[in-house]
Amino acid sequence: MSIPLSWYLILAAALFCIGLFGVLSRKNAIAILLGIELMLNAVNINLVAFWRYQDPVKMTGQVFAIIVFAVAAAEVAVGLALIISVYRRRKTVIADEIDLMKW
């Protein structure tokens, strides 16, 4: 393992920023969720890299990563259900047009 830890961290940072860009720049609500998935994966890369480089016997990093999997699954399930529900009523998935809560 001749890869410095910083490489992983930079990769994760870049992935996170790409995800952030996607979340903020996309119009489509499903595409925004895609960006969030990228961000969660960036976090997971960090967690697993730290697990490997700190102390592989302590499983904290991996357990955290598993919890992130569960959170990601829950987020996708509820998020997409909301989008589909809104789509059925309003016939739109554009985040800016979903403005029921504005008034």
Partner: protein, 170 residues
């Protein structure tokens, strides 16, 4: 330049390239499939990091379930995805600059930290990390509570999502 580093750089290139395609592709189906490529790259990364369990779980959960759910959702909301024209907001350059600033800041922070330049030691061969993970997840003085709470979270997500998606039409 060792073989390790070459493999890492190739994987990183795949991940970042696919991630960029995810956020810029116009067709949403393609964006979802690029996401699959990026997630697969992350799984390979876990393989390089010797977290075998996470690598397969990444494929099973992300590619086998989450990506499929995305594709289903894209196909169910069809009109908007066929829409010609732009898929980004008019002021898309603002988050672009924001992301770039954050990225540069993070890279300065990471490279400035001496401790992050070290490489990992070999995992001793007598340690089975898979079994250790199982022990950590179930032994009462470790992570049994997060383990159970994760299942409660998923139950809540299932109940909520089923309730929302079933949506009796008024």
């Amino acid at each position: 330049m060792t073989a390790d580093r070459i493999i890492f750089l190739l994987t990183a290139g795949v991940i970042l390239g696919s991630a960029i395609m995810v956020v810029v592709t116009r067709k949403l189906i393609h964006a979802a499939l690029w996401l699959v490529a990026a997630l697969f790259g992350v799984a390979i990364l876990y393989g390089i990091l010797q977290a075998g369990f996470l690598a397969v779980v990444q494929v099973v959960v992300y590619i086998g379930a989450i990506a499929i759910l995305f594709i289903f959702a894209v196909m169910l909301t069809r009109k908007e995805t066929l829409e010609k024209g732009t898929q980004t907001r008019p002021n898309w350059w603002l988050p672009g600059i924001l992301g770039l600033i954050i990225l540069i800041g993070l890279i300065i922070l990471i490279t400035g930290h001496i401790d992050f330049n070290r490489t990992a030691e070999q995992i001793p061969t007598n340690i089975d990390t898979l079994r250790l993970l199982g022990v950590a997840l179930v032994s009462p003085d470790a992570f049994v509570l997060p383990f159970e709470i994760a299942s409660v979270l998923l139950l809540a997500a299932l109940v909520g999502a089923v309730f929302v998606a079933s949506g009796k039409k008024e």
